[in-house]
Subunit: 340 residues, 4 copies
């Protein structure tokens, strides 16, 4: 049984593990104030071309989202997201638990547009309603789609114009940046958003997200919030070491490229069999629509999750590849599909 269930089914890339082993018995300062974190911060600042950015390492994505949004908003303010946004659906109300409404705008392709933002603003006009103040997007999105540079610039523009913070959830940023249709760089992301993060958990690390804060308003006292929400890892250097490795010798991009290449094998095989997709993904998440009887056959050898019932006899499933996915497994999946 091979799992395409998600991109966090395996541990860390061997180089990362090795670095952790080498540092294991060296006494370190706690709470992210160690040399490895400093060095990882420097590597990221260099990569994004922003010496002024604050970089914080946090264990997981939901934590990162709730801390960032909870810090950015005053009590009556709200964050705009698509209805498919991770914060809207898959975080057990973590944002609401910080006291803030998620304004969910319906989006077929999982992407947010300036029109969505304008509509959300138009619907919130006075003090009897929440005040939109932040925009949350994911790249790649929850259904594998991704933003072009033009699209991100348009979001940046309306956010600047309307006084909204733009926050990019980069749990799968590597997959977006290394996809064949991408035209964005990390420098672009840093320039066009106010705060974003670079996902480690789904990008070859054991765990960890690197949050990059570019907007001055969001920087002060951020570590207080990290500590308060229980996200200040005692042995914080474990996060620093992992991001040092990811941003040495291109490892971050190489691992993400691998996951995209593995997905491409699946995608091409599925297309060749004549099946269509629920979303237009060139990243490591694919959402093919299969007849139910095909799914029944596939699930004998492969693990994957169901995305949505399409009609009486068809279902969209989700296939996810990772930095560790084997080419052989992908080819085996396609072969099995060809026999269905």
């Amino acid at each position: 049984m091979y799992s395409f269930n998600n991109d966090y089914s395996e541990g860390a890339h061997p180089k990362i593990l090795e670095a952790m082993i080498n540092a294991n018995l060296i006494q370190k300062t706690g709470y992210g104030l160690d040399d490895n974190c400093s060095s990882a911060r420097a590597l990221i600042r260099q990569e994004i071309g922003r010496e002024d950015a604050d970089v914080h390492f946090i264990v997981g994505g939901t934590q990162t989202n709730l801390i960032t949004i909870g810090t950015a908003l005053r009590p009556w303010q709200a964050v705009i997201s698509t209805d498919k946004g991770h914060i809207n659906v898959h975080e057990t109300g973590a944002i609401e638990a910080t006291g803030h409404k998620v304004i969910a705008m319906p989006s077929k392709d999982g992407k947010l547009t300036p029109a969505h933002i304008q509509k959300a603003l138009d619907l919130h006009t006075d003090e009897h309603m929440v005040q939109p103040k932040m925009v949350y997007i994911s790249n790649s999105t929850e259904i594998g789609t991704q933003y072009s540079k033009a699209e991100l610039e348009a979001l940046h523009h309306i956010c600047r114009q309307k006084g909204l913070y733009l926050f990019l959830d980069g749990a799968r940023l590597g997959a977006a940046l290394t996809s064949s249709v991408n035209d964005l760089t990390l420098q672009d992301i840093a320039r066009l958003t106010d705060v974003f993060y670079i996902g480690g958990t789904k990008g070859g690390a054991l765990f960890g997200e690197a949050l990059v804060i570019c907007h001055q308003d969001l920087k002060p006292d951020f570590r207080f919030m990290v500590k308060q929400r229980g996200a200040m890892l005692a042995k914080g250097w474990l996060l620093g070491i992992q991001f040092e490795e990811l941003f040495t010798n291109n490892l971050f991009y190489d691992l993400a490229s691998h996951s995209n290449e593995m997905a491409a094998i699946l995608r091409k095989g599925i297309e060749a069999c004549g099946y269509s997709f629920y979303s237009d993904s060139m990243t490591n998440q694919l959402f093919p629509i299969f007849p139910d009887k095909v799914i029944t056959k596939l699930e004998k050898d492969f693990l994957f999750s169901v995305q949505e019932r399409i009609d009486d006899s068809h279902t969209a499933i989700r296939l996810v590849t990772s930095w560790a996915t084997s080419e052989e497994a992908c080819r085996r999946f396609v072969s099995l599909l060809e026999t269905c």
Copy 2:
């Protein structure tokens, strides 16, 4: 200039004011532990036929909603509402500020159905999502529609079946119960919901909502929550006195009937002129759709609010009548409309 802007533009019915004046210099116990509150509680319990119900008097509706929902839900639980629900739109995120998500189900007529509830349950399947635990409805609804007994019984049924609390916001309950198409009584409301309130602010009082808790789970320590959220009025007898009057000699129903009758004058006049409505309301809120040039003429003599842009030349407005609305003003509105 006459205002149909809302049903809280005037003070209290003279009998209520008089009772407050008569009690003014009598020393009373604070915080709702006085004789007037006791007597008002007894009158309400008798009216609903439930000696076991807990009754709390709270100054305003948003307060009542946030305290009730905040008490009913555990941190990870959520409340289901229509997208038009007062808690979803017009309370500046008061529910989210207690830490809970409002699951908003689109509804054209402002009413929630068992199908909405089932869909909300189907979409929330595991611990990565909030857990629906309460259903919030308003009667009459935010757009003047109302529930029939059969509809409320169906909601009651699915809530019991699925372990959900059913909460009815009765800010305009009087208007619903005295409308010409109503087939519900206060006894029915008490039987079919777990907690509901009887609106005083929009029903002839200066302020005040009477929250009635029928479900055992929601009763313990409720006064702690009332106090914590700043809703325990020091001179609590002011609330007791008002509800004593409302539930003496049918005053509550008479005042609501008046508001409906005034609305009926407007409705019939509008219908006679051939205009249609945004919603099918037999209560004290009407949402006629007028050509913009008609609105321009009406707003020279009358205050009202805009509900929604319908098309390039038409807009739905909101007209609200109250216990104090004058018949003459209603007739004057219709006359003016006839000349448009």
Copy 3:
């Protein structure tokens, strides 16, 4: 049975009631945007000599405290109070429910000093601890004591120096400002604090506190927070009318003076009988220490509350007078005491 239980056992001064009655059937704008509120705001701004101050009318004190503190603080910040502070003891954790710690500094006389503030700052040194950002004081305090101008200036000074907001709870501000030992004016209060309120509930109104915001940081979007916490009264003009009356012809001060004068009768009578006090109060709250057998006799004719057990045979009780307290009752209390 006469009650010295508190200063909110009676309704409102007749002039206030009369003004409410006169306005009863005039249609008004809701939510505090009416002419009465405007006029009351103007009267208060004039009284404090600050045209730039924002004034908000809120129904009760706990509401006012939680909204003000919840608006002022970022999520990781805390408010410094004495251990006797109303927010620390008597609000069912209302401040903590907004997410903020109350740093409680022990104080015998109920007053906070610069030394308390410095100690609180010394104890909170890094991001593993909450960050003190606001100082909360009451004048008069919870045990009837009051701040001199020199004391308030010293608090102002350290707050400015350390970047702390100074918030004065004036639920009983009238009693403080009209006490025989007072040397502060409302102008001083406005100059020396960042935000404060003028208590109406305990000062002759049916209900209502007038919050005055002088610091620019605390002004933006304040009405959003008022609405979110359920404190935006629909018929907001009821608050405006009451404060119009209080700040017309000196009524606010006259009523507070009366309560102090009535307390003085009690105080002098108690002193003449040779009893001592738990606190040194020249305002409308007195805390005499009586032998238990004296208390047993007094409580046959008078209602009052117990403050604290002093020793095996003595107890401090609390006697509170109000704008409506009768001189005859005070003299009767003293006479009874003389016979004990």
Copy 4:
């Protein structure tokens, strides 16, 4: 420079690292639903002799505290702690951020007694105050002291009697259980508390705390809260693997014993030099009181933190040993001290 700064300055015990390496490329189920977590849960249940206990693995201590307390309490309830409690001082208001007051009882030795609890209950009498519902203790405490079986039984007794949950923070439980004066077992802890945790971060793991829930009330839906607060680790098996190793072949106890033995070398050396201690600790945290000039010499070769200024020329410092502390370093410290 050798650090006695804390017990989380080094990585994990080699056996733990090795197990993580061995599992690195095996595909696992996420979110703690994997076989390693199951096996670790079984080992812990066996160790505590409670097949009915729920076991959750959480990355850090502050997270574990806020999730547990936030789950146990209704909005108006509070937790009793000593003033030195980690939740009261060193978590940046994490508990208050969940909406709950920490009732802090002064304690010289860092331990809570039934008298403290009774006093806290006596001070909280009605709905104007928070309602105490949980008791929080740490074993070993924040200043290295520990509870005897008789003391824990007394706490258990009063908690049962008063309807309070008893929660034991076991971040340093290993050190307590293996100290020379301990008479408690993990079975006792499970029997005498309602919920507790076994610290991994300070006990030889890279990170991780094993929360054990024995009380039925605290079990339902706990994973919802874990997820909502961002504490559900994607690669949850990393936690399982570490606790599997800790509870195999006594590793958990052996590592804790080592830390205590290293502390004993320091303690005996310090005593032999005639110095006294701030607290009476037989565990891995020591708080010797040194003349300032001695501290100046020690800090040239050793890292440690300052606990409290004792007088004009003396200061209590904190020395912490860990599973990885070298005997040589301890002896070197004592030698240096002897020369001071």
